[in-house]
Structures are given as C-alpha cells and as structure tokens.
C-alpha cells in the first residue's frame, strides 16, 4: 500500500490533464456539475492519489490505509475522475456521472463508490469527520494520515472552526487539511462575501502549522505533502493557491463557472485547450 513514491511532477501534470479532460466530458454529458471548483482542485487530488496517499484500489477498505476526505463534496466529478485514474473505479463508469441509478451521484457516497470515506455535499462536514479519523489513528498508534480537501468559501461554515479548534487542541499532526484557495465562492469573491483573510494567521492562531503553496504546481505540492508533519504536535494546514477553472482559459478565475456547463462552442474550445492545442 505504497504510493508511487518516485512519480515525477511531469507525470502528475500529464495525468491531471487526463483527469480534467474526463471531468469536462462528464459534466458536459450530465449537463450539471461544478467545473470551476473541480479544476481548481484537480492538481491537488491527482498529487495526493498518485503521489502521496497510502491507499490500495485492490483493497480500498484496508484498515490502516490513509484517509482522504473531499470536504468540498461538490467537486465530486474531479474526485471520481481521479479515483478512476488511480484505479478505484473503471474509467468507462465515469460516463454514468449523474445518470439515473449511477453510483456516481452529484456528491460522493461512500456506500457506493470505493475510495470514498464519508458522504459530503453540505459544506462544513468533511474536516470535522477527518478530525475523528485522525483521533482514531492516534488511538490505534498508527502512522496513517488523514487528508481533507476543503473549499475556501467552505471556511465560512462554523463547524469548520469547531474542527480547527479541536484538531489544534488535540495536536493532531497526522491530519492534513488543504484549503483550495481559489478566492471565489458560488456568487462572488470570498473577500467580497465574508472575508477570510488573514487566513494563515487564523489557522496559526488555532494551533495549526501552516504552509502556502501553488496549488497547480505538482512539484511544490509533492514537496509540501512530503514535509508533513510540518511541526510535531500540530495539525498541518496547506493553503493551496489555485484558480477556479484552471486549465481552460475562459473558465479561469470566472465566478460564473462555479456550476456553469459549457455550450457546444465552448466545449470544443475547452477540449482543445486541455489537449494542449489551443
């Protein structure tokens, strides 16, 4: 149950492009999805699943596996596309995304999809559950780690700060929270809606060890995850600076692309850009 410890950043970039391409087709076919938030999170997901997590698609419930929690559950298509790339589900199944009776619901269901640890969708659930997972690992005396990917707008939920306070108090250095800091939420910028900054200082004040990273730089992401624990006795917080819709020029940093679906012209342009042709 070892990750591909030696995977090269260039290989991660290639695989991330495949994950985005499939994600685009899933959302286009379904006519529903959250491409903007998915493309901001894709490089983080791919780096974790292909380079960091000690998980085994052949034994997805192995007791001592690392845990990954998608706290921002609306990025489900990016998670499914990554799980397919990592071998947890068949690539062919991705085309069933949000189709009637598909396992691939608009938000992930652990009882249906191997590799999903807890059901998310309403914001503010994943990180608190991850705190419980990290406590369980510590009770077991296990070296397994727990990773939770949160949105930045999601940090407006009070339950996230309950979790932040608890993890800091318990000193859970086996817990890694990654904030997908794309600076946009559904309707506007985070700072225009309800201000999050100074974000690093807030987490530091809650007892976390904080690092900031370019959330689209696979080498930098590998480095930061390999540096865990940043400080012994403190939970780890990675502020991943990202761009909503990253990878497709007309989606990038566009608030409208939170849950917009491309039209017939836009899909061709997006496909071309993700193939590296435009």
């Amino acid at each position: 149950m070892q990750p591909l410890a030696s995977i090269a950043p260039g290989e991660l970039a290639r695989r991330a492009r495949l994950v985005r391409q499939r994600d685009l087709e899933m959302v286009y076919a379904a006519g529903l999805g959250h491409l903007g938030s998915e493309f901001s999170a894709t490089d983080i997901l791919v780096t974790l699943y292909l380079g960091i997590l000690r998980v085994d698609p052949a034994d997805p419930n192995a007791p001592d596996r690392d845990r990954f929690v998608l706290s921002k559950g609306h990025s489900a298509a990016a998670l499914y596309s990554t799980l397919a790339e990592a071998g947890f589900i068949e690539i062919d199944e991705l085309s069933t995304f949000m189709k009637p009776l598909s396992r691939l619901n608009g938000h992930p269901d652990r009882n249906k999809v191997p590799g999903v640890e807890t059901n998310t969708g309403p914001l503010g659930h994943g990180l608190p559950v991850a705190v419980g997972m990290a406590l369980a690992a510590r009770m077991d005396g296990s070296s397994r780690r727990v990773y939770a990917l949160t949105g930045d707008g999601e940090l407006q939920e009070g339950s996230m700060w309950e979790a932040a306070m608890a993890a800091g108090h318990f000193g859970l250095d086996n817990l890694v929270a990654i904030v997908d800091r794309n600076r946009l939420q559904q309707g506007d910028g985070t700072e225009q809606t309800i201000r999050l900054e100074p974000l690093a200082e807030k987490w530091t004040a809650f007892g976390w060890a904080v690092r900031e990273v370019d959330g689209h730089d696979h080498a930098a992401l590998l480095d930061v995850f390999r540096a865990v624990p940043f400080t012994r006795g403190r939970p780890n917080l990675v502020i991943a600076h990202t761009h909503k819709g990253n990878g497709v020029s007309f989606m990038r940093d566009g608030v409208a692309w939170h849950h917009k679906v491309p039209n017939a012209d836009q899909i061709e342009l997006a496909r071309a850009e993700l193939r590296g042709e435009a």
Binding site: T118, G121, A130, G132, E162, A163
Partner: protein, 322 residues
C-alpha cells in the same frame, strides 16, 4: 442511584444504566469510545473518563463536531457512543446526524440524555420534544426510547452489537422498573406488558409506567387495556400495532414528546393505512411548555395515568355506545 418515592415503587435514573452498560462494554471491547460535548456530568460519564481516559473524547461545546468526530472515529474502526443532552445533540447537529451518521452509514451510537421535558424549569430551549419526529424522518437510523433501567442497559448493549447508526433517547426523570426480570429487548420489537382486548395503550420512555398504572385502574372498571411498550420508534413493530388495532379496535398513544410526528404520528401512519381504528394521541400539544418541573409539565399536559385512562375510556365508550 435510586430514589424511594413516598409511597410508590423504587425509582431509577436510566442514565446510570447507560453508563454502567457502557463501562461494561468498554472493558470487554477496546473499540468502544465515548465522545461528549463538555457535559461529562449530565451524561454521567465521569467514571468512564476515569477508567478509560484514552478512549474518552471531549470535543467541548460543539455538537456539530461531536457527531462528525464520532463518524470519523467509526471510520477508523472504533464504536463511538456520542453522548450529549438530547435537545442540543439532535437539533444543533441534525445535518451531521443525517449525513455523517445515517446517510454515510457509519457505526455511530448517539445517546441523547435528559430528553423530553426532563429539564423542566430550564424551559423550552432545553426541552427535547421534537427529537423523535426529526430523527425518525431520517432513513437508516434506528430510534429507541427505553422505558426503564433494564431496557436502557439492553438497548445500549444491542446498539453495540448492531452495525450501523442508532439513536437512544434517555431521560433523567426517575422511573420505576416496568419489565419483568428476564425481559429481552430487541430492536423493532414491542413488549406487551398488559394483555387486553378492549383498547390498546402504546407508550414509550417515561410514559410506560403511567400507561401501566392507567391499565391497572381501567381493569378495576372492567376495561381490559392492552399496554405495548413501543421502545423502538424507527423501525416500528408493525405486527404488534396491527394486531392491537385489529384485536382491540382503538389505540391511545402516550409519549413525552410533541404530538406532531412522534410515536403517535408513527402509529397513525401505519394504522390509518393498514387497519384504521380510532386513536387518541397524547403528548405535548404543539406548544412551547410553560415554566415548571418535569413532573409538573407532564401533569399539566395530561400525560398521567388519569389522562391516559380518560382517553382509553372515551375510545371504549365511543366504540360501544349503549
């Protein structure tokens, strides 16, 4: 802890049965963990904390986190008993109960203490009279309202054996034992505590002792009132309810809960479709309670042997006018 009422039977606080069972389970099974929201005293978990400090998680005054952390512990193979005062556990953390426990199908055991109007004079903020309605509306969640210490003890042990989410609602009001020695609790199985053919009283929790008293008084008037302890509200014992409807022709439900959507509502949903009979639903009548002790409030709302008896008598009279 037990208290001797002036003239009645010995009375017990079911929280003691809960913590006693939990400590037994924790001694036998290292997976058992207690998770609590600061309320170590009101959940009576002090002794557990003493003996199992490494399996005791106090999340502070944070009920959403309380349930979510429980779900995370369950993901790690633990069997968490997530304990808090019922009003805060169920209302504040309702979405966590729905998503992290029930929909995620995690092995979380939720224990709501001081339910119903047990907090009395502290007022409606502290009354938990909607919890059964909220929680029984959620799929894949067992909802149990034990009546006495023996049943509380067994419900806690059954929850430990069952793989999946369970909510157990306990009071802090002193109650007498209502079951014979040797009673065996099972999820979804009602206990018939009195036989009868004229009318049925279906109760749970602190109301069971009152239902028995009502039945005994009715017997003196020649009315044979069956009494069912319907401790599992979700899922109901359909067979026992339909047999009661068919064989006794009238049902009174009695619960320490609003009349909107609790035990009475659950029974009515079944009976009205499968075997319609006249019903009376006794509970808190859709209002915030006035100031008063728990005992006062139960009397105030007619949740007494007298109130149950009157409703049963009326059903019998209306069925056989003479």
């Amino acid at each position: 802890m037990s208290a001797q009422a002036a003239t009645g039977p010995e009375l017990f606080d079911c929280r003691d049965a809960f913590t006693g069972a939990l400590i037994d389970l924790a001694r036998a099974d290292s997976r058992v963990v207690a998770v609590v929201n600061d309320a170590v005293g009101s959940t009576k978990l002090g002794a557990f904390k003493q003996e199992f400090a490494d399996r005791f998680v106090n999340v502070g005054i944070a009920e959403q986190n309380l349930v979510s952390i429980g779900a995370g512990l369950a993901n790690g193979g633990r069997i968490p008993f997530v304990c808090g005062a019922a009003p805060f556990l169920t209302a504040r953390a309702l979405e966590q109960i729905k998503v992290d426990a029930a929909y995620s199908n995690t092995n979380v055991k939720l224990v709501g203490v001081s339910s119903g109007v047990a907090y009395g004079q502290l007022g409606p903020t502290h009354h938990s009279i909607e919890d059964v309605a909220w929680l029984r509306a959620i799929a894949n969640l067992m909802v149990v309202v034990p009546a006495d210490p023996a049943e509380t003890d067994q419900a806690i042990r059954a929850a430990h054996r069952h793989v999946g989410p369970v909510f157990i609602r306990t009071s802090r009001m002193p109650v007498p034992s209502v079951h014979e020695a040797g009673y065996r609790f099972a999820f979804g199985k009602a206990a018939r505590l009195r036989d009868g053919k004229d009318v049925t009283i279906i109760a749970n929790g602190v109301m069971v002792a009152r239902a028995l008293e009502a039945s005994d008084r009715l017997a003196g008037e020649g009315i044979a009132a069956r009494v069912l302890n319907m401790s599992t509200v979700s899922n109901l014992d359909r067979e026992a309810i339909l047999a009661a409807a068919d064989e006794t022709g009238g049902i009174v439900t009695a619960e320490e809960h609003t009349v909107r959507g609790g035990l009475g509502g659950a029974v009515a949903e079944l009976v009205s479709v499968e075997c319609p009979v006249r019903m009376r639903i006794l509970g808190i009548p859709g209002v915030f309670a006035p100031t008063g002790s728990a005992e006062f409030l139960l009397d105030h709302f007619g949740l007494t042997a007298d109130g149950i008896g009157a409703a049963a008598r009326e059903l019998v009279r209306r069925r056989s006018p003479s």
